[in-house]
């Protein structure tokens, strides 16, 4: 009985720390200062945190040229994750603000991720254009 409890506890901790590690790794890789241009394009605040800008950002990302982009797979994964969160958030809003708040925070991280990718793509597009002018 005690062993079963320990195993259950350890499984919980493994999952919890695993998720926390992934979140921290994504955060450290993609937490960059956003340019003014992207913030005004996507309608983000100074911190770059507006969960409702998500759909606008995905649209802008579809329009933006992908010059040397190596983050398409990760972007697709995050986009899929964001869709799930949006659906869950819709359901959670009926349960209460506390539940909805968690999903909103996660969506904010997705928005920030998308904004950073957009920023990078715009910068590389600009760089490539200036190179072709030379």
């Amino acid at each position: 009985m005690l062993l079963a409890l320990i195993v259950a506890l350890a499984v919980g901790f493994t999952i919890h720390w695993g998720i926390s590690y992934c979140r921290a790794a994504i955060w450290s890789a993609y937490n960059r200062e956003l340019s003014e241009e992207v913030r005004s394009l996507a309608g983000l605040d100074k911190e770059g945190n507006d969960p409702n800008s998500c759909s606008r950002l995905w649209m802008l990302l579809d329009l933006c040229p992908r010059i040397g982009a190596q983050d398409s797979t990760r972007l697709r994964l995050v986009r899929f994750y964001c869709r799930i969160l949006t659906s869950l958030n819709f359901l959670a809003r009926r349960l209460g603000a506390r539940f909805s708040g968690r999903f909103q925070r996660e969506r904010m991280a997705c928005t920030h991720f998308a904004a950073v990718v957009l920023d990078r793509r715009l910068a590389s597009a600009r760089q490539s254009r200036s190179r072709s002018h030379l």
């Binding site: 062993l3 079963a4 350890a10 590690y21 955060w27």
Partner: protein, 230 residues
């Protein structure tokens, strides 16, 4: 007999361990995370020793079992030292009452000393079932200590990303080992459990290599975004 999968894990973990130490030396982080780097050096040495013993005596020999559990237990004690240093990093970050600090250090040091004493006194039993039980207990204690460390790290609104990554990597390592030992006790006939410890043994140096190479020591992150707490 070990297969290509085991060799690949062996080589990957060894390269990651060497990389961590070399990177820390080059970037001047070696002394900042001294016990952690000593532990990683120990891991690299252990990889070489186990390989030599395996090649000389074979994987099913008593010598290999003795070497495996003896070095594993010793390294876990060194790892407690590394955790003590992580505690001191975390204490420097957050305001924790001094009596809690002293209690944490004393309990950690006592655990390490007790473990060392058991290893020395029961050395002749380290190729028997006692070794597996002792390792399981050490990993469980490690998991609990990492959990306490994790709660201390979460006390700050913005924690150091490096510390968060290192602590979570240790957490996955300890909790993963505890799960494996537990499941092995419930279902001893399942062969799949034997693949998990080498995977976890590769996970730790790989994650440390990533942390040291990609995350600067000054970088901070909101813990709420990582831990899902408000």
């Amino acid at each position: 007999m070990l297969g290509s999968f085991d060799y690949a894990l062996w080589l990957t973990s060894f390269l990651a361990e060497v990389f961590v130490v070399v990177w820390a030396l080059r970037r001047g982080d070696f002394f900042r995370y001294l016990t952690l780097n000593i532990y990683v050096l120990g891991l690299a040495a252990d990889t070489v020793i186990r390989y030599v013993v395996y090649k000389t005596y074979g994987v099913s020999s008593t010598q290999y079992a003795y070497c495996y559990y003896y070095t594993d237990a010793l390294l876990t004690v060194v790892m407690f030292g590394a955790i003590i240093s992580l505690y001191s990093h975390a204490f420097r970050e957050s305001k924790v009452p001094s009596y809690i600090r002293i209690l944490a250090f004393v309990s950690l040091a006592a655990t390490a000393a007790y473990s060392l004493l058991v290893i020395q006194q029961k050395r002749q039993l380290l190729a028997t079932d006692f070794a597996a039980e002792f390792s399981a207990n050490l990993y469980f204690v490690g998991m609990v200590l990492t959990y306490v460390l994790w709660t201390i790290v979460l006390r700050r609104h913005h924690a150091r990303t490096r510390l968060v990554l290192i602590v979570t990597a240790f957490g996955v390592f300890f909790a993963g080992h505890t799960v494996t030992y537990g499941l092995h006790s419930f279902f001893p006939s399942v062969a799949a459990w034997q693949y998990i410890p080498p995977l976890l043994g590769t996970w730790l140096p790989l994650s440390l290599a990533y942390t040291f190479a990609r995350v600067s020591d000054e970088h901070r992150m909101p813990v709420a975004a990582v831990a899902g707490v408000s």
